[in-house]
């Protein structure tokens, strides 16, 4: 009974992340926009490894590429790399205290920026302005509330 009830949370969280990524922001705040899709994908890779693996990250990346109008495959590559690293250290990361987990997420998001910059360099595309490198910090700060919220929604579903 609990299993089908929980199924809606995954697509809903992904759609919410995509919407948050598309929402128009004032130009000043725009560089600080956290990579919501990566945060949500990371949550599912940590919490539900049966359903969310490399393939899941890859597909969500493709969806993000389509939604954000980027080069097809860029986010797929970035999210696959992130999911792989997370999978490797999943057993440790799961039992980290929240602050440490947030640090790990910050490092992963920073690494993601590096991967993205490398992809752009490879394809001779324009690089993001330097102000966009602050976004991983905000993502790190937002990891704890997001994790708690998604986890509460999940657990809440399971109990009812």
């Amino acid at each position: 009974m609990s299993r089908p009830r929980r199924l809606w949370l995954l697509p809903v969280s992904i759609i919410a992340a995509l919407l948050l990524g598309l929402l128009p922001l004032p130009p000043l705040v725009q560089p600080l926009r956290p990579y919501w899709l990566a945060l949500v994908v990371a949550f599912w890779v940590i919490e539900d490894p049966d359903r969310a693996g490399l393939g899941f990250a890859f597909l969500m990346g493709l969806l993000g590429d389509l939604a954000f109008g980027g080069i097809l495959g860029e986010q797929a590559l970035r999210l696959t790399v992130m999911a792989f690293i997370l999978q490797r250290f999943r057993s440790q990361v799961r039992f980290f205290p929240m602050a440490q987990q947030a640090l790990v997420m910050g490092a992963l998001l920073f690494n993601d920026r590096v991967v993205s910059a490398a992809v752009h360099l490879m394809l001779d595309e324009p690089q993001l302005p330097w102000s966009y490198w602050w976004a991983p910090l905000l993502g790190m700060v937002l990891w704890a509330p997001l994790f708690v919220l998604l986890d509460a929604l999940r657990i809440g579903r399971r109990k009812s």
Binding site: L22, A76, S91
Partner: protein
């Protein structure tokens, strides 16, 4: 390996995981290269874009709601102020248009004398911008109008300031605009003052265009207005592209490299105009929404010819401004 060192899964799992990673990475890189080089992937992409349209619509909703709330919440004094400002602007542009119409009529007469082909009026369609933030490294816009509203691929997009870009993708309800500033974009231009022909390239920044390979001998100065030249046939001639911000010698020291400030407001706006492309527009005049009161000085022989602005209707499809579509007051002599 001793069991207590780490809780990692056994070796075989590691290898399988790495293999899967490599597979997905290879797939992603293949997609990247294919998409970057264009080709058959663009068609698949256009199909897939239809699927994300609801998402775009939903993401654009808050901005639309915000706009409508703001429109509803304005006070009477603000409305009066707006009204006064717009009335002034209308007067000014009306006067300007009357002057331009005389010039256009004269132009048509001279062209007639020369036997040159006449040009049609400016036939435009208003399209709202879907206010969402796309990938910041790519200079694109999504319009809230698609093939159902008569938008076609390749149409030029302008705003009140000048050229904005061109339509590169059309789905039934949305269209993607490639902005002038995209690094993939180039537009043939000329210097308005002396007709030196150049090509303006995008740089990936919304406030700057690049104007490479300006001959040292060419008379190009900072502050020159740059307009489209119409060469190549993609863009109609005579639309402002920008003004030259700075000039410096390029790496070879044989040419100048110009920085161009775009004339159009590329960063934010609510609407753009799409040019109907089947016929080249004439002077950049007459994109007004309603008939002007002062056109009594319109010479009779120019009626129905160049310079008569077709009314800017939302879905005007007629390629040639036919007599029926002219503003009513031009029926009188």
């Amino acid at each position: 390996m001793p069991a207590y060192t780490s809780p990692t899964p056994p070796r075989t799992g590691d290898v399988a995981g790495t293999l899967r990673l490599l597979t997905y990475l290879a797939l992603a890189v293949a997609l990247l290269v294919l998409d970057h080089r264009g080709g058959w992937l663009t068609r698949i992409r256009a199909q897939a874009n239809v699927a994300v349209q609801p998402l775009w619509w939903l993401a654009g909703l808050p901005a639309r709601l915000g706009d409508s709330v703001r429109d509803d919440a304005v006070t009477r004094s603000m409305l009066a102020e707006d009204n006064r400002r717009l009335r002034n602007a209308l007067l000014v542009s009306g006067a300007r248009q009357a002057r331009l119409q005389v010039a256009a009529a004269e132009n048509a007469r001279l062209r007639g004398l020369l036997g040159a082909a006449e040009r049609g009026g400016l036939d435009v369609q208003l399209a709202p911008i879907l206010d969402i933030d796309l990938d910041p490294t790519r200079q694109r816009l999504i319009l809230d109008a698609g093939s159902r509203d008569g938008v076609r691929q390749g149409q030029s997009v302008i705003d009140a300031g000048g050229l904005v870009g061109q339509i590169i993708e059309v789905t039934p309800t949305t269209a993607t605009v490639l902005l002038l500033t995209d690094p993939d974009h180039a537009v043939p231009v000329l210097v308005g003052r002396n007709g030196v022909r150049l090509v303006a390239y995008g740089k990936g920044r919304s406030d700057e265009l690049e104007l490479p390979n300006i001959p040292l001998s060419a008379d190009v100065k900072v502050g020159d207005a740059i307009i489209t030249s119409g060469l190549g046939g993609r863009f109609p001639p005579g639309f402002p592209v920008g003004t030259i911000d700075s000039l410096r010698p390029d790496d070879s020291r044989a040419f100048l490299l110009g920085a161009l400030k775009p004339a159009a407001r590329l960063d934010r706006g609510r609407d753009v105009l799409l040019l109907q492309q089947s016929r080249e527009p004439g002077l950049g005049i007459g994109d007004s929404e309603q008939p002007q009161p002062q056109s009594g000085d319109e010479p009779a022989n120019a009626a129905g010819k160049a310079g008569v602005p077709a009314p800017a209707t939302r879905s005007s499809q007629s390629p040639i401004p036919n007599p029926q579509s002219r503003p009513p007051q031009e029926a009188q002599p």
